[in-house]
Symmetry: C2
Subunit: 193 residues, 2 copies
Amino acid sequence: MPTEIKEQIRKYFHRYVPFDDKELEEFCSCLRTATYKKKEYLLKEKEICRHKFFIASGLVRSFYTDRNGNEQIVQFGIENWWVTNMESFVKESPSEVNIQALEDTRVYMLSKGSLESLYVTIPKLERLFRMITEKMLIAIQRREGYYMKMSSKERYEFMLNEIPDFVQRVPQYMIASYLEITPEYLSELRKKK
Amino acid sequence: MPTEIKEQIRKYFHRYVPFDDKELEEFCSCLRTATYKKKEYLLKEKEICRHKFFIASGLVRSFYTDRNGNEQIVQFGIENWWVTNMESFVKESPSEVNIQALEDTRVYMLSKGSLESLYVTIPKLERLFRMITEKMLIAIQRREGYYMKMSSKERYEFMLNEIPDFVQRVPQYMIASYLEITPEYLSELRKKK
């Protein structure tokens, strides 16, 4: 078990619930490391999502392809975020979303079987993932709320304020897709800044 | 503690994690019962959501008021569902949504303080609410996915198939709001059935 992985996970877990060395060792021994080149897929539509992916470094996006064949981005994931398609992971059903690396990305993968065993041997993982799932749910609901409450200009400004680094790292047309505005309108908003 | 409450909660919990009598007794002793007449609010925008509401009987809706003053329904809740505004509940911040009774509704209310204490005394509640939160997240993501993948006609037909009773109990203009279609178009779809 590389110390580096254990240290990254320790720091991340500590935000929620402190884990001792033995627990961390056990948890990390269940992780599998994988790397994806920019543009490679962690998950493709119709595949079953067999893992929760912890982004160790890099950047990914989750997106649907709508019935007109357009890509609609619903989530970005950066360092120290979990990314998965929850429905596919929980029900072992075909995923409706794609997850794709936008930069060279390194992940720690946790399978459903491993996680279920870990819940039994380290029960405080239930608390950890209860809190993480609440946070994911809040993120989705916030996005939904902003879309209803804010104009597209306000949404862009909000995004710039909340996650400025992020806006730099993601191609502009993807920011536009996430904000549900046209790339032309985004470019106009940027010029006004 | 009325036996009726304990029995309803027992049955509901049993879908996820079995609870023994003592645990159920302790959990139920933290619940407060409240009733809301049709059209009364369980939670109003800008208030802090201090409870998770378990719908014992009746029907509620969660909705945003968008920047044009239109109501946008994001969730319905019926018997044996938990309803809350997660962000407001977790962060004790002002809610962006309203929760309103659509029928005379009876709820069991669980406060944040009680829930935090219960997590300590009955740790398996972590597992229960981890699973319930996953289910809520899946419901939101499914709705998002359907909106992108399906035409409004397909969305309506899907809703009719999945939750037929529900469609009967909710006023048509609210179904239209939830499906993000006009009431006129919904009426046209119904005529074709």
